[in-house]
Point group: D2
Chain length 231, copies 4
């Protein structure tokens, strides 16, 4: 089974809010949605030590690590070994998140190792120049999240989304563009895809919702609908 | 079952050399030794994503994480959540290894979180002043490994071991002292325990041995013997 | 001339708010106060590239670097060479500030180099355990600033100040204790010294005052007065 | 006086080997060469606290900082404030050296601040992908130094130099390309410029030479000659 990320895609990113049994329940629900809507990819990010359990309990979602280091099996201690997360079941990884920024050189190494193993990379960038730099280094997905908007409930505006899309596709049109700033409702998801993003995602908009599982469902449905209508 | 680390103890630390099935085979072998010699504690360090599998396949060893961050469930992404590794089965953690050094403040936070969850801490220090500082901050085990000796095949000399022991026990006599610089034979293990260390450990001395599993066995036997004879 | 820091002492720490001519004017004013009240030490922290100009324009203040690295003359590029800041005129240095935290090992190296060169160290700690750890590693002055109070205008309470003092002096009674959380008026200075701190300091409380130079003067006078009355 | 870096250029980078009077003597000698060969730019990197003294004692060289942070005047402590090094006399800065790597985001911020102040940037990259990424982010000069060659006395081969040149000029042909791996003789300088580099530089090849000042002179002469002959 290929693990290439489809267009459109949705990332449920519970960060470090969830782990263990509770995370597992969420992942199973996301898996049901992924089986129901196989035309889109659903990624769930999980803490490293939860990767194996989530992988074993699901079929269709792309289990995603929060980070990995560009190391090879060897002396490293305390770093995240790509082979270890791959073996446990991760098929995608976030890199260079604002909470876990990477040096230019470490990002480059991590991207290289991800390609060797077949792990899809979602690389964060918080300006258009950074997004282009990251595109040149070979990201599979670029998350364009202006740092100042994270967690504020404000979405990126239409001009920003279109500029970013264009700047990235200019470098490499096969790179997927993710826009996820301030997504907190199904309408936000719809609008973001409508504006041209290849994928989106959400953290607190889901976990803090009155009916979280319903919110997750509605968001995935909005994603599928918007993408179909965009044509 | 208490997970307090006994005196003497042995740490098999394959760093990032092993993961997946091969690591599992080693962990099972270590577990047989741990069941055979219940008077000593045997710790096996594993990559984060391997914690659950190793825990599920073993009974007696203390599954040990290579690092963790002093965070609480919440926004962090890319960090190592203590609750996640605990839930997966880790009951001990290395902190401040030369390959993953921590700021004073981050170490202090990680020690606090470890105590809250019941995770034993093995904290690295590469000078006597640092060992005392770390003792005051509340480590359970201190690994006194002069950075310049790591991986050279040279063991710490007797004066260094005794000075370190004394300096640490002066601060808190319940702290266990681990000495592991340059351990590559069962004789090195014997001598280190004889000189007063509470525990020791090994990486390449085992994995590079002609008969690795035999070497692991001999080292654990030397540990038990030296500790008994020391009285 | 000895550069040992006297009891009491006052640190004017304009962080990165000031540089060049404006910083020079402030430093000269602080120098006049230092000459008028030679019984106390007045330290002024300055950006690295301003050290020489400030030293050349002043007589009595202790020119203080914002950080240095524990390196020796050699290959390092981009780090702060102790010999370079000493030659330019720095006789004290902040280490491990919350905005520039150091690993346990790097702090230990920096303290060692500072002692070799005769640079006084002001080491930050944000809990009592960290303050004791830092005391054992050999700081000359410890700044006990609970991270959560920095810049809030709230001072540390009396119990915190006394506990910290006691915890540090227990390890080494020659270490000076600095308390500077939330100092924004001359009364705050008076109260902090009265409660037993050896020194204090201020940033925005001075630069944001209606009459900044007057505020600096009043704070130094309050320091001298409180220390005399404390007896 | 414009501080734009000319083609060809030579960087004397004594890292942290030199400071104070000894550095000053070297800088003066480099300045004589810069006055004699005004058609090339000569840059001298110096520790932060030496910038002002070197600037005051020289006329023509471009005084270069070893690093700076992309911060604005404000709260930062322990970071390198761009305004402070500019005021002291720095007109160029190294960024992202292997010994002081920057995150993608911090590099982007530092480049932005450098442009605002008129500080030329020499950005290090250790692969062609990284060089292109850095070109897109807006470096003025890119130093293509394969990390594994630093300090080995081996120069980059002709194919590497030409590939790098092409990859960078493809993104922006105004960016200058510096090649400096393993430069230890005037012949190395000649060959590197002949192969198409816009500039080069040296550390230990000069300071360890039998007659260091003569070596510096010969290297600058080789640079000028090669560039003229290249046409």
């Amino acid at each position: 089974m290929s693990t290439k990320i489809n267009r459109p895609f949705f990332v449920f990113n519970p960060k470090s809010y969830l782990y263990g049994e509770e995370l597992l329940a969420w992942a199973k629900r996301a898996d049901e949605l992924a089986l129901k809507y196989p035309e889109c990819s659903i990624l769930v990010t999980v803490p490293y030590a939860d990767i194996a359990a989530v992988k074993n309990a699901t079929e269709q979602i792309i289990v995603t690590a929060q980070h990995m280091d560009g190391i090879k099996p060897g002396r490293g201690i305390g770093h995240v070994l790509p082979e270890s997360i791959y073996h446990a079941g991760a098929r995608a990884v976030f890199l260079n998140h604002a909470e876990r920024p990477l040096t230019v050189s470490d990002l480059s190494q991590a991207l290289k190792r991800a390609k060797e193993l077949g792990i899809q990379t979602i690389v964060c960038a918080d300006s258009i120049a950074e997004a282009q730099a990251v595109a040149i280094m070979g990201a599979d997905v670029i998350l364009c999240e202006p740092t100042e908007l994270i967690g504020t409930g404000q979405t990126s505006d239409s001009a920003y989304i279109q500029q970013t899309n264009q700047a990235i596709k200019e470098i490499d049109e096969t790179i997927l563009v993710m826009q996820a700033a301030g997504i907190s409702t199904a309408e936000d998801v719809y609008r973001t895809i409508e504006l041209g993003a290849d994928g989106t995602g959400c953290t607190s908009g889901i976990t803090n919702a009155e009916s979280p599982l319903e919110m997750l469902t509605e968001m995935v449905e909005a994603l599928v609908k918007a993408y179909k209508e965009r044509g």
